[in-house]
Subunit: 367 residues, 2 copies
């Protein structure tokens, strides 16, 4: 799918706008962000044209103005579709870490929020809050990886905004993305679809993102080559939906798998029973968690999701995820009626313990 072609409304008009902008460029005279770059004048125009337009450049952005405009019929191709909208701010520290950076996180995170709602992500907006003094070289790296992440997920960066805050009132760069996706007519996902006996699948090993970010901060006594799991999951979700009776999905970001499972238990009133031995955690990640006394169930993921599927489609669901590249996908638990509205972990010795929601914040600014 080439989103540029799909969303292009009037190629001639757009190309002439691009030509006009390119023929009379505003120049970026500095090597780092100043307050003037957020003021809306010539410096802002230079930043937009030389950094953002240069990397994202597509027909929607070339329209100019503060809104992206697309034909509804091109966006929504089937009668009876639904539209999904999602937003997230990203304040991760550090902004670059093994396996990713704040930019691809901001694209993947919103793509994934739409995907687990059953939506096919289409358009994404990006809003930057830059701290005065940020080097353009760093910003360009982040922006380039956003474009790459958007292309991989098949979404168009449709519109954006940039503000600059004085040194000491931000932290290099914060990014907020919002996304629009389209849910095809036949899809019915939601808490109310979840039934006793359903199986719970996880798409891969957990806790890598949070631990990778912790390691990257460099203020721990240990070092381990752990990489963030940041990725868009819309291809995995599509493979899953084509194969299995999917009831509900959720990406296990802030608060980790424990929190998303508690949200489901709370919303459905049912019991989420997880098998401790089935929950995949890489050895390196588990080791780091052990040393730091952090339960991997509470550590943020950025490319790993949980799905509830009918019991009889669970094997096919796992096979479909494996075939789509999610090698670590497996059944990790099931839905029961009792104990109501609770998450229970069955441990290796046949014992059980209740898994509560995260209290406090062991890992601040992880996403």
């Amino acid at each position: 799918m080439d989103p540029k072609n799909r969303l292009n409304e009037d190629e001639t008009k757009v190309n002439s706008n691009i030509e006009r902008v390119r023929s009379r460029p505003f120049r970026l005279l500095e090597d780092r962000v100043t307050l003037a770059h957020g003021a809306g004048g010539k410096s802002s125009a230079a930043l937009v044209e030389q950094v953002f337009f240069d990397a994202y450049g597509n027909d929607l952005l070339a329209q100019g103005g503060d809104s992206a405009v697309v034909s509804a019929a091109e966006l929504i191709d089937a009668h009876g579709s639904k539209i999904a909208m999602s937003t997230d701010s990203y304040v991760v520290n550090p902004i670059e870490f093994p396996g990713g950076n704040i930019g691809e996180l901001a694209i993947n995170g919103t793509v994934n929020d739409l995907s687990v709602a059953g939506a096919i992500p289409k358009l994404i907006s990006v809003a930057f809050i830059l701290e005065e003094g940020l080097e353009f070289e760093t910003l360009r790296r982040i922006v380039a990886s956003m474009r790459e992440a958007a292309d991989k997920a098949g979404v168009t960066i449709a519109t954006g905004d940039t503000k600059v805050v004085p040194k000491g009132t931000g932290d290099k760069v914060y990014i907020t993305t919002a996304g629009i996706g389209v849910i095809p007519p036949e899809r019915e996902l939601g808490f109310e679809q979840v039934q006793q006996g359903d199986k719970i699948i996880v798409s891969g090993p957990i806790a890598d993102h949070g631990m990778a970010v912790m390691m990257a901060r460099g203020d721990l006594a240990i070092e381990a080559p752990i990489e963030s799991d940041t990725r868009s999951v819309n291809d995995l979700v599509e493979a899953l939906i084509k194969t299995a009776d999917v009831r509900w999905m959720r990406d296990a970001t802030r608060g980790g798998l424990a929190t998303s499972m508690n949200e489901m238990a709370r919303a459905t009133g049912k019991a989420v029973v997880l098998e401790d031995s089935k929950i995949p955690v890489r050895d390196m990640t588990r080791g780091a968690c052990d040393i730091l006394g952090i339960d991997p169930l509470y550590v943020a993921n950025e490319g790993t999701f949980a799905a509830v599927v009918s019991a009889d489609s669970a094997d096919a669901a796992v096979a479909a995820l494996h075939a789509a590249g999610a090698e670590g996908a497996c059944v990790m638990g099931r839905v029961e009626d009792e104990p109501a509205a609770s998450v229970v972990l069955v441990t290796g010795f046949g014992g059980t313990r209740m898994v509560d929601m995260l209290v406090g914040d062991p890992l601040p600014r992880i996403c």
Copy 2:
């Protein structure tokens, strides 16, 4: 229009979700924001339920999950419609100022960006970056005025996010909104519609917002009771479109009227000729600008827009704006072919001067 009813998909389901959430509330134990409120666990849930849900509470938010889902057919009621998407971050300092606060600014700003694209605003997302230590009392005031602004504009706050950053890496609260609007089939607005001879209308007095924020900072040697013009303009825009041949519109925010007029001149290649004596500026605002040596043409507005209309519909356009409550609306200029791609100000003595885009930033963090 009651957006709650229009977008309600399944009232029974939604009400039972609301009941469930209300019957088992998470409690907010602190009087100010802590890092735990951004961690995704119990404290985050308490913040969302006790502050945001309490103020915004509607059927879309009650769906739970990270995406709002609406029926495409309910959102887009006519074949041939277009969808507009817009986003803006708000970092204004101080967060409360005469005439408004950062919250209503964040709603009105995105509503207005959609409106001037010819779109009827429908859904809005809100993402908060809160600084550790912000008092909930302040946050509640901001959130309440966001709900009020959304209701006034007829948009639904569909989804949101909250992050918390440590003290010293933010400034109380930053808000990013994104919006979706629907452009009815017959509307064709854009730079390419602008013609030689068209009239340029301004919807009211300029420069109030920027000067009100400057005054509120209290670090100027003067005081003046100037109020921000923050408001949603979608009602004015609809009145205008119903009456006049509108070619193009733009709200004159960051960089002021001078910048939006330069953007038009640059995009169309035409000359924007403004009559200095016609551009409305309140006496108090002009006085403050004079004392500070700031040109009101470069000061941000948050509820004032410029519109290009056909010459023969200009009088009707102004009358329609007056009737809709924009008492200060008037014709302030016209579109000419020469000097190409330039903004010219005709001064009181019959002289002219070129009006360039803003260079530098006389008023940082104004929106």
